[in-house]
């Protein structure tokens, strides 16, 4: 197996999915928890228009920070997101083909599709599918969307979310994420280690709770106001900001168990209205 660098893996995936008719979209410039939050997935999976897109999406999950001490967990990392709508009959085969394109020997190694019914309570989104395991390493989330923004979908999209670090670990045979080769002469750790340590401290210990509580309220209010003016994209970006602010408060231990569902409900109802307005405007 040729040891592709991180950058080469992304490059190969771009090439592969372009051949499958995907547009390569630029990543979203707002902090998000996953590629699903990108308008190229959230909005585009609504309605009956065909759509195929692929993109890398830097993602943040504050509670997953481990001060750069865990070889597998990070509070910020990269997803490679593919959305294919409608889902073609042979999408699973195409996906396996993409792994072969990365040089993974599917005869020597075992790929396993393990039940995982995906759900994003903040986006009012859910789907059925699997975690894909490569020799027990979870490398992809594979989902047939059933609902987005609380709407039962007219046309089922297939979402394929590659965990880029995991795939690189496998390909490069290095099981510490910080040792991965980003590009010859540069490691993942060179770019991210200090970042992980500092952000873990920030997320767990330093983030200003009062400020974030106020920010959450402000973002929520702004999103609602913008929805009132029919400005879907700006409104949606404030929904995302509110969502990330909530995640930070959660990592900081500032959200009690009983308040959690309420916060999530507030974000979801805004996300739902964004989805409704998007469909109305079309």
């Amino acid at each position: 197996m040729k040891k592709l660098s991180f950058v080469e893996v992304v490059d190969m995936l771009n090439k592969f999915w372009v051949k499958q008719g995907c547009f390569i979209v630029a990543p979203l410039d707002t902090e998000v928890g996953a590629g699903t939050f990108h308008p190229a997935t959230f909005f585009k999976s609504l309605g009956r228009d065909k759509w195929r897109a692929a993109y890398i999406q830097p993602s943040r999950r504050p509670t997953d920070g481990r001060y750069a001490d865990n070889p597998l967990r990070l509070q910020s990392y990269y997803q490679y997101q593919v959305l294919v709508k409608p889902s073609p009959r042979d999408i699973k085969k195409i996906y396996l083909e993409s792994l072969r394109a990365l040089g993974i020997d599917l005869k020597a190694h075992e790929v396993r599709f393990v039940e995982d019914d995906w759900e994003s309570p903040t986006l009012g989104a859910s789907g059925l599918g699997w975690e894909v395991w490569l020799d027990s390493l979870e490398i992809t989330q594979f989902t047939y969307f059933q609902q987005i923004g609380g709407k039962e979908l007219d046309l089922v999209s297939c979402e394929i979310t590659y965990g880029l670090e995991r795939i690189c670990m496998f390909i490069q045979n290095r099981f510490n994420v910080f040792d991965l080769e980003w590009q010859p002469g540069l490691t993942y750790g060179d770019i991210h280690e200090q970042h992980e340590i500092e952000y873990s401290k920030y997320n767990f210990d330093e983030a200003n709770i009062d400020m974030h509580l106020k920010m959450f309220e402000a973002f929520e209010k702004e999103a609602a106001a913008l929805l009132g003016k029919g400005l879907i994209y700006p409104a949606y970006s404030f929904v995302l900001k509110a969502s990330h602010t909530f995640n930070l408060l959660d990592a900081r231990g500032a959200v009690s168990q009983s308040e959690r569902p309420r916060y999530i409900g507030r974000i979801r109802s805004l996300a739902k209205r964004c989805a409704e307005l998007y469909l109305e405007k079309k």
Partner: protein, 682 residues
């Protein structure tokens, strides 16, 4: 007659492991019903098989055609259809013509309404193949799954996308049309031959055995012992189709983690099996692979991933043990127990009060302090990182962390085992403190969930696990031999919920019924069937006593003295039944008029203390024998010679009072045997 086999194969993208068995079974049932309703008689078996990627149904020995079914069609009455000479009338000819038969074929049949003209119409027997073709799509669509999905525009729903279907009947394929699903293209072969090509591992029992054998082989090679986790084995059976195994290793430092954490991590993240030697985990694991792989390469990945996951568990463990477990208690105010039933902090307050209450009742005062402390700590692990990651470790982690926090062993063990038993095969709490806390947790659940005014449980509908909790409660009481009146405890549990419950009026009865229902379930078949009800009618609700009593009485059901005792209860009961409105007081010996009155009362005075003594000692067989010996003859004699329902009110009430004394001596504390059917003394 010529017979053929039928095979249906549904190829599907990876099904959730827990779905396959039930889905295949429901398909089997649907075929059996379908074939019956189409009158396709067959004497072979219906077999079901399945893997993560296929559901297979195999039906042996089907006839080529359904049975001929004839149908009678009723025409006009005979008097209208034929004239006096017996010739068919215009009406008869018209009826025959409409039905497409000749007038000669008309028959006359006696019906409840009189004589009518009928014709017998034989329906043409249809080809079994056509019937199979017709009913199979409906059967496939009708397979029930816990969750289903759409994957294309056809609207078809299934657990995962169907890739193709294949149906074979004899050597021919059957054309199955089901929305957008393609048919698997093969050269048609006999179903038996095709089944052979699927391999013996298509049978999940065979596959499971194979995997278990492979694992045990590796275990032997490692000189280890092993209790293969059956649940995990079951799951893995539906994750691989052609199993292979290998052993891997991890750093010994992770053995510092509690064994339950290691097990949970291995099962959840990688579905690998832990290995132990002399009952202690060692730094090895066994993985089951699908198909022949390069084990050397695969193993390395597994080992690295396991260590990364265990490292994360260590992180959780360190975070959780930074402060004593008791510091989590306050956070429980933020944790909802159940929407209408308040938070977890309120729950542990109730548990604490209940533990204190029951320790007094069952004579476990020395355990009072420990069980109350265990109650306080019982839910504190719910807000730890580890239980957040592995919810199945609730209780277990509480016990671990309690020990780490310097709590005593009794307290820690009680916290650890208070969720037991979860299922029918689960072990019960070992310690008495654990059993007490487990009982209080369960009764609080049953009372709370029953008191929310939620829908009544029925059949398999029991969303809050009321039945499971009630069963656990009964099993523990019986196992530990705790003696107390359940009604007192239920009353206390209801009281502790204060104003949170919606149906306080009849709630106690409802809870009592749930417990009784589980006792009956545990006792199984007891003869005579009415015996359980007879026991419910009497005595206090002490679970152990109830088990003893029902067992004792059932064991003497054919003895003459049992039947005699039953007869006494029946006869005295009958006379009292007719006197429900009367105000029966105490027996007044001055009112005795006849000898049998005196002798029956003497019998009562002579035997009362002895019988009550035997009942106090729960010697129910002897008490019944003594009761029969004391009363059978004299009560008979009394009824033969003395009229109870006389005009004189004082005399009547006095005689009823004697009967009542004799009746209740037995029925209030043993069983109301009058409820048994037809008591005949041989």
């Amino acid at each position: 007659m010529e017979h053929r086999d039928f095979l249906l194969e549904i190829n599907v993208e990876e099904l959730p492991a827990g779905y396959v068995r039930d889905a295949a079974a429901s398909m089997k049932t649907a075929f059996r019903r379908g074939l019956d309703s189409f009158h396709v008689g067959f004497n072979g078996r219906i077999l079901d098989f399945g893997t993560k990627n296929s559901l297979v149904c195999y039906i042996e020995n089907l006839p080529l055609k359904q049975e001929e079914v004839s149908q009678e069609i009723l025409g006009p009455p005979k008097r209208i259809a034929f004239d006096e000479k017996g010739n068919p009338t215009k009406q008869a000819v018209g009826f025959a013509k409409n039905q497409g038969v000749k007038t000669e074929d008309l028959k006359v049949r006696q019906t409840p309404k009189g004589e009518y003209v009928v014709i017998e119409k034989k329906e043409k027997a249809r080809d079994t193949k056509d019937i199979l073709r017709e009913m199979t799509p409906g059967i496939i669509k009708g397979i029930r799954f816990p969750k289903t999905m759409k994957w294309d525009d056809s609207g078809l729903r299934f657990a995962r996308p169907i890739e193709s279907v294949l149906a074979l009947f004899g050597n021919e394929d059957v054309d199955i049309k089901i929305d957008s699903v393609p048919q698997k293209k093969i050269r048609p072969v006999a179903p038996a031959k095709y089944l052979k090509t699927l391999g013996k591992l298509i049978d999940w029992d065979v596959r499971k055995k194979e995997i278990k054998g492979l694992i045990l082989g590796v275990v032997k090679g490692l000189r280890a012992d092993h209790g293969v986790d059956e649940n995990l084995l079951d799951e893995v059976t539906f994750m691989v189709t052609s199993p292979d195994v290998f052993a891997g290793e991890f750093d010994k430092k992770f053995l510092d983690l509690p064994g339950d954490v290691l097990r949970a991590s291995m099962a959840k993240h990688q579905r690998v099996f832990p290995v132990s030697r002399n009952g202690k985990l060692i730094n090895k694991f066994i993985a089951v692979l699908d198909g022949r792989r390069n084990k050397k390469l695969v193993r390395k990945v597994y080992e690295n991933i396991l260590e990364a996951k265990l490292k994360d568990s260590l992180f959780f463990f360190d975070e959780d043990t930074k402060r004593p477990l008791s510091e989590n208690i306050f956070q429980l105010k933020d944790l909802i127990f159940q929407k209408d039933l308040g938070n977890m902090f309120e729950k542990i307050e109730r548990l604490k009060a209940l533990c204190g209450f029951i320790c007094d009742k069952v004579g476990e005062r020395p355990l009072k302090k420990d069980s109350e402390r265990a109650a306080e700590l019982s839910k504190a692990d719910l807000v730890t990182h580890m239980v957040g990651e592995f919810p199945s470790l609730q209780g277990v982690m509480g016990g671990e962390y309690a020990l780490k926090s310097g709590e005593n062993k009794t307290v820690a063990q009680a916290v650890r085992e208070h969720y037991l038993p979860q299922g029918m095969d689960d072990p019960l709490p070992e310690t008495r403190a654990g059993a007490i806390l487990a009982l209080m947790d369960k009764i609080d659940n049953v009372v709370g969930f029953s008191g929310m005014g939620a829908e009544k449980i029925s059949g398999s509908f029991d969303p809050f696990g009321i039945r499971r909790n009630a069963l656990g409660f009964v099993r523990i009481v019986k196992d530990k031999g705790f003696r107390f009146d359940c009604e007192d405890l239920i009353h206390k549990a209801i009281e502790l919920y204060r104003d949170k419950l919606n149906v306080p009026g009849n709630l106690k009865d409802k809870v009592v019924d749930y417990l009784k229902d589980r006792i009956e379930f545990l006792m199984g078949d007891v003869r005579p069937l009415e015996l359980k009800r007879a026991v419910w009618e009497s005595g206090c609700f002490d679970i152990c006593d109830i088990f003893n009593r029902i067992r004792a009485l059932a064991s003497i059901k054919d003895k003459t003295y049992f039947l005699e005792a039953a007869k006494v209860v029946e006869r005295t009961g009958n006379i009292l039944k007719g006197a429900k409105k009367e105000k029966i007081g105490a027996v007044d010996e001055r009112l005795f008029k006849e000898d049998p009155e005196r002798s029956v009362w003497k019998a009562y005075l002579d035997s009362k203390d002895k019988i009550q003594g035997l009942i106090d000692e729960e010697q129910y067989k002897d008490a019944t024998g003594e009761y029969a010996r004391a009363f059978y003859r004299v009560v008979h004699d009394f009824f033969d010679k003395v009229l109870v329902n006389v005009e004189d009110r004082a005399l009547r009430l006095n005689r009823l009072a004697i009967m009542k004394a004799i009746n209740t001596l037995y029925t209030e504390r043993v069983a109301d045997l009058a409820l048994l059917p037809q008591i005949v003394v041989k």
